[in-house]
Symmetry: C2
Subunit: 335 residues, 2 copies
């Protein structure tokens, strides 16, 4: 039985990418659990752009992580000891484990964990991807905010990322023409050849804006926006009247001082509806969404993919990989 | 009978404010009219921020004015000669007269003119203000896009302008707490004391953001945005979850190279809905809106105010007055 818990603490707030002083790796004894608690060993950590937002000290949708706290992260863990009525040894749970090896489940609402159902066609990592935050974000963002109609044109940025790759496939399921924007030819090949996007555009090619125009001959009805900045501006320029912009993320700005600048002029001229959303607003519909996503996965209509980085010590560098666009699909740290 | 028509032509596209080279005043003979046409003498010209947009050469909701064309403008004119079945001498009409003294009504759809009804309690200028573009913009923007609920907090920028001053009063009629942002103490006094806004904030005072916070103790549910830039950002920072931003105008950016920059971050965090709109989408409801606005005006629930500049030759300078914030209420050039 191990006795030591390695944990990444937030030591300094970052100004750009995660420099070595930002997170500090510390060893401490694994806490003993009391009645009503359970101890879980973290197996996989979900590496998400929003972690960079949590590190910053401005008003946001959850409290920022405080200096000296274990860095917040989603993860998947296995119960190794339980004095909690709902969990038994061997159960797998997902939730806010934090960037650490062991986590105590206290039953408090704010750190609530979901016990994973046993589904033979789903791997553990699917629960951090298609059946986790990313699948639900794609599902509610596209279907409830974007409201795609058959025959419409959907553009997705960060299209080879965990969320974007699912958004595009959901768009195809709902009869849209789907155009993805990504940053490498390999990513473009994956979303077009394996995931069935109608077109994929590498924004690092000099002529990408004319490629975008050629790929959207009827304009753009829905922009599922994960990136912001210049990429968002180029998509706004292609939007049709009364188009919808699902504002999911603005990753291009998260490592900058002033995140998410873009021009509002097109919003007036084209009478666009831009709507921000967070999946926490749809908690009551999670079960229904999970069933649909699982069914699509089982029948081969939805694929997900992981980029796995091994070792807790690699977690800070994994966060930076996100902002450098070095992952395809979901970025996960395996412990 | 005069024979000369003075007209302002667009000679060069502006880069900032309207410099003397941008518009050129030319005299030409008043055209003679053919069967099916009518000749009208312009009495009042509506000076609107959108004129600056029309002068610029980027894709927009109407074709930009071309170099060598008479500058586009709304106006009110009186028929002085008619060979058109719908108009007789003495009729008053409103429509796109252009920045000139005489206009020929051709009956073409694109330059269609509305004959003004005779309403004893309305002056001519009301038809360019409360019963014109500004009243309709305020009405549809606030009621159809903003959807105010009684008890909600509404913030209006450019609140002493033609549109903003009506928006705030409509907000009061619909039971909102209404906070206006304007650029002089005189404007603030007018909207608070005469129009009944709950609070008015002069954004040129150093502590205006804390004044805004104090004036919106329950946050902001609707931002009726006419300005953009730093003012919009400050209001976004006060928005409540699921608030609505009615994106009507972005006057702070119209004389800049890159109009309408603001941060999208708050839109995600607070799940805001930002919606651009133009009143042309509501044409079929104009009659109904006009009746309601007229009724509110007659019963004293809505007031409008004009800043009158005399003389066609002052039109370019009048446009600049808008961007310098030198008008209270509707800015009109009287010929």
């Amino acid at each position: 039985m191990p006795t030591t818990n390695r944990q990444w603490f937030l030591a300094h707030r970052p100004t750009g990418l995660i420099t070595p002083d930002v997170l500090q790796l510390t060893e401490s004894p694994i806490p003993s659990i009391s009645e009503g608690q359970a101890l879980a060993k973290v197996k996989y950590l979900s590496i998400d752009p929003t972690m960079r937002v949590w590190m910053a000290d401005f008003p946001q949708y959850m409290p920022p992580v405080q200096i000296g706290e274990v860095m917040r992260a989603f993860g998947l863990a296995e119960i190794i000891e339980s004095r909690h009525p709902n969990f038994k040894k061997g159960d797998k749970v997902s939730g806010l484990t934090g960037l650490q090896e062991y986590v105590v489940l206290t039953g408090e609402e704010k750190r609530s964990f979901q016990k994973l159902p046993s589904m033979p066609f789903l791997s553990d990592t699917n629960f951090l991807n298609l059946l986790g935050i990313n699948g639900l974000t794609a599902y509610f963002g596209l279907l409830e905010v974007g409201k795609p109609q058959s025959g419409e044109t959907l553009v997705v940025s960060a299209a080879a990322g965990a969320t974007g790759s699912i958004v595009g496939q959901l768009g195809k399921i709902h009869g849209c023409r789907v155009v993805g924007i990504a940053g490498t030819d390999e990513k473009c090949k994956w979303i077009k050849d394996d995931l069935g996007f109608d077109a994929a555009i590498n924004y690092k090619h000099a002529d990408w804006k004319s490629q975008l125009a050629a790929a959207t001959p009827k304009g753009v009805d829905i922009d599922f926006e994960n990136v912001g900045g210049e990429i968002m501006q180029a998509v706004l320029d292609r939007m049709n009247l009364h188009g919808r912009v699902v504002l999911c993320g603005l990753i291009s700005g998260y490592t900058k001082h002033d995140p998410g600048l873009a021009s509002f002029g097109q919003i007036i001229i084209k009478r666009l509806r831009v709507e921000g959303f967070l999946i926490m607003d749809y908690v009551l519909k999670f079960m229904d969404a999970g069933q649909k996503l699982g069914m699509w996965k089982m029948t081969g209509k939805l694929k997900d993919r992981q980029t796995i980085v091994k070792g807790l010590e690699k977690a800070p560098e994994a966060i930076n990989m996100l902002f450098r666009g070095e992952n395809i699909g979901k970025l996960i740290v395996e412990l």
